[in-house]
């Protein structure tokens, strides 16, 4: 066992057989393909990177404004702007794979067939894990269209599962009646892990113009405001499935990360906090390490699922 590099505790975790140096992963969407943050610190200090959600073909996303601040959080309606799967695999992934960290290729598409095709292309690369996004609230075709119901989610995962042997993580939406039902459905179709929560659908209005602030009218709510929802859903899902859960949703500190792990997460993604502070993922690793040291906990992996409900 190697010693964690931030202090005494062992920060390493293993998810779906893939070893991570630490459990902290910048979430898909806030980190691009990593290049912008490599000027601030070596990306090798991160547990992993969830790359920007990529669709089969280039997408321009939604019109601006695409962001609005909200109490303890924000709304976004980027709408999966990306250069397309071929461009990702040829122009971005080779560089990302040289950064000595685990790479999760986040992908979405308009149909199970299209996603299966993307999965097959990614399967032929050295990417470590695939993260299938069936939960983007900001695109009309694909995204949440598949993740909102168990049968469509299952059909999507079935098609993708047949196209890849790589560890397959399925990213789930909180905008559903019962997230455990969706989680069980994707587990039954062979998902190796689930990640949650994507953003909660929300809206704000400019009182002066009586128009929505976002040009897309609605957007996804994220940030500390959604953290308690994430804790609850990670707890519910980790009790409902046997596969690992990667937790996310408003994590802004090492203690938040520890809390989400106690609720059942094997690793933790950090999204909105990166917009507030580009160094947030590193700070969270340091804070998590301090938490473990201060409480005499030998390893981060020991935290997972240790919360005792009343």
């Amino acid at each position: 066992m190697r010693k964690g590099w931030f202090g005494m505790a062992d920060l390493s975790v293993t998810v779906c057989g893939v070893p991570f140096k630490n459990p902290i992963i910048p979430a898909s969407g806030v980190f691009g393909y990593g290049r912008e943050y490599a000027q601030y610190y070596p990306l090798s200090m991160l547990g992993g990177i969830a790359a920007k959600g990529t669709t089969p073909l280039k997408q321009n996303g939604n019109p601006a404004p695409r962001i609005a601040e909200t109490p303890a959080g924000m709304l976004n309606s980027v709408g999966l702007q990306n250069p397309g799967m071929e461009a990702f695999i040829h122009n971005e992934l080779p560089w990302l794979l040289q950064q000595d960290t685990v790479v999760l290729a986040n992908f979405a598409g308009p149909s199970p067939e299209a996603c299966a095709e993307s999965a097959a292309k990614l399967d032929a690369t050295d990417v470590h894990m695939l993260e299938l996004n069936i939960s983007c609230p900001n695109v009309k075709n694909g995204g949440l269209a598949f993740g909102a119901q168990a049968d469509t989610a299952a059909a999507m995962v079935r098609a993708v599962r047949n196209a890849t042997k790589k560890p397959l993580v399925v990213k789930l939406s909180p905008n559903v009646t019962d997230i455990t039902e969706i989680a069980r459905a994707v587990e039954a179709e062979g998902a190796d892990a689930v990640s949650l929560i994507n953003t909660l659908l929300g809206m704000r209005i400019d009182l002066r113009t009586r128009r929505p602030i976002l040009r897309n009218n609605t957007g996804g709510l994220s940030g500390p405001a959604v953290f308690p929802v994430a804790v609850r859903m990670v707890w519910q899902v980790s009790n409902a499935v046997k596969i690992p859960v990667i937790g996310m949703g408003g994590v802004a500190s090492g203690k938040d990360a520890a809390e989400l792990m106690m609720a059942g997460a094997s690793a933790v993604q950090v999204g909105t906090a990166v917009l507030t502070d580009p160094y947030a993922p590193l700070r969270i690793v340091q804070e998590l390490n301090a938490f473990l040291d201060e409480n005499g906990i030998a390893s981060a992996a020991e935290l997972t699922g240790t919360m005792q409900p009343w």
């Binding site: 010693k3 943050y37 924000m74 909105t272 990166v274 507030t276 160094y279």
Partner: protein
Amino acid sequence: MCQSTNNIIIPTLRYPVRCMEQLNMTTWSMVVDCPEVAAKAVPGQFVHLLPDGNYTLRRPISICEINRSAGTLRLVFEVRGEGTETLSHLRAGDMVNLLGSLGHGFTLLEQKQPVILIGGGIGTPPMLPLAQYYGEQATVICGFRNAGAAILQQDFAKAGAQTVLCTDDGSAGHHGLVTQPLAELINERKPAMLYACGPMPMLRAIANMAKAQGIPCEVSLEERMGCGVGACLVCACNIYLDDGSVHAGHVCKDGPVFDAERVVWNG
């Protein structure tokens, strides 16, 4: 894992405010002591400020003065909401959380060429570093709502630039839009370059005049921003690529300064 034994020191991004001055009812001028940021900053760039308190998003503020020898940046901003209101409460000696300098700045020509700088309202501050660079070769046309909203006129004069002031209500300078004196100045002597920052209708009109006259023109755009470094893809603006196709670019990284001919004005 050789880096493993060394804890890295995470930058706090906090810098001391050297002075704070209120320019009018809604506009503040802040000088920040940030030598390593000032050393790299160029005209047209911005810094991303995080107000203290429960804020999730930073506020992009354009750079109004770069003083490398003093190691300071001057930032002039308008109070538009709670975040900028909080920033306006900072005083000399307080610390401000500043990420930067960010973005793509203005193209600087050889200093001896005549240029025209056009600032509309709170779009005026990023024109000052250009005026300080071009000195008496610069003519600055500024447009404001009224006399009370006018800012930085003495700073432009001190830089050696000619100043033309316009107000919407005629309470100071020319009564009307910046485009009227701009057309006259272009007729008198064709400038080597136009630089502009302000409301989109003003920028669109200036871009059209520049194109019609064959004058290179750069504009600084504004959009609601997220990360500020080009990763989150929030601050989208449509721009033309070399092949004429439209690309969803981003104000923070591709801009905030764009060649006016690259901007899709109706987009």
